[in-house]
């Protein structure tokens, strides 16, 4: 998979490395900005209230 991506990137090794870095940063950005904030309330790590299990519901 990663090998395939590397082979399909244009340019020489330096250009590829730069593009790879940009891709990695873009993925991390999307994860931190959109994916993790969406996933976090669905996971049972951070419910802090006593509330008959209604945590996370919009009130």
């Amino acid at each position: 998979m990663y090998g395939w991506i590397w082979r399909h990137l244009p340019g020489n090794a330096w250009v590829r490395a730069l593009i790879s870095l940009v891709l990695v940063l873009a993925i991390v950005y999307v994860l931190f900005q959109y994916v993790f904030p969406w996933a976090e309330p669905l996971l049972p790590f951070n419910d802090v209230t006593v509330d008959n299990g209604m945590a996370g519901t919009a009130r």
Partner: protein
Amino acid sequence: MARTEHDEPRRPARRGRGRIAATVSFIGELLITVGLLLALFVVYSLWWTNVLADREASRQGHHVRDNWANGGPGALNTKDGIGFLHVPAMKNGEVLVKKGTDTGTLNEGVAGFYTSPVKSAMPWDKKGNVTLAAHRDGHGAKFHNIDKLKDGDAVVFETRDVWYVYKVYAELRETSKYNVEVIDQVPKESGKKQPGRYLTLTTCTPVYTSDYRYVVWAQLERTQKVDAKRTPPAELR
């Protein structure tokens, strides 16, 4: 080795092995990717959400203090925050207290007072229980050190005009999230039978998960008027 006719039949076998190798390495890369994703999620939960929440809480805290300084709505303004919680034993500075315990509010790095299932009292009420919740980890982790609180520790609630000094008198180290009685106006589980001026902190436990809830009860010991320089009470010095 010299090429012979033996190479011919071997070729499909070699191609088969290549396909298996490719599949195995693809699965391996997939597993590495999942591992990296989980590691990133931990970084996000335990570090990045703190950065965001602390920034937001300090912005909102300044806003509240500016309002106080400029004679804004102050103590009765429940929208921006009603005051600050200072718990020296938790070593986390001041925590802005706002209305509501929904995820959006608590994720701003503040402590929220309950509006449901049992409505919280306000510190200035004659009788009642001020019930607060905040995150144990991530999103400011304002109650991370709740387990450091012992009987007799000070919990100070600062409003525009008054310091309310509470003393811890009971802890419940593990309870069910369905145990809403802990935030009753007279919290019987803490041993109290008469109405009084109580303060209850709730968060999740054990750390990094939320299987149970951790509860600390305090009761009002004294109040102190805020002076012109906002000199903190002895408990905070």
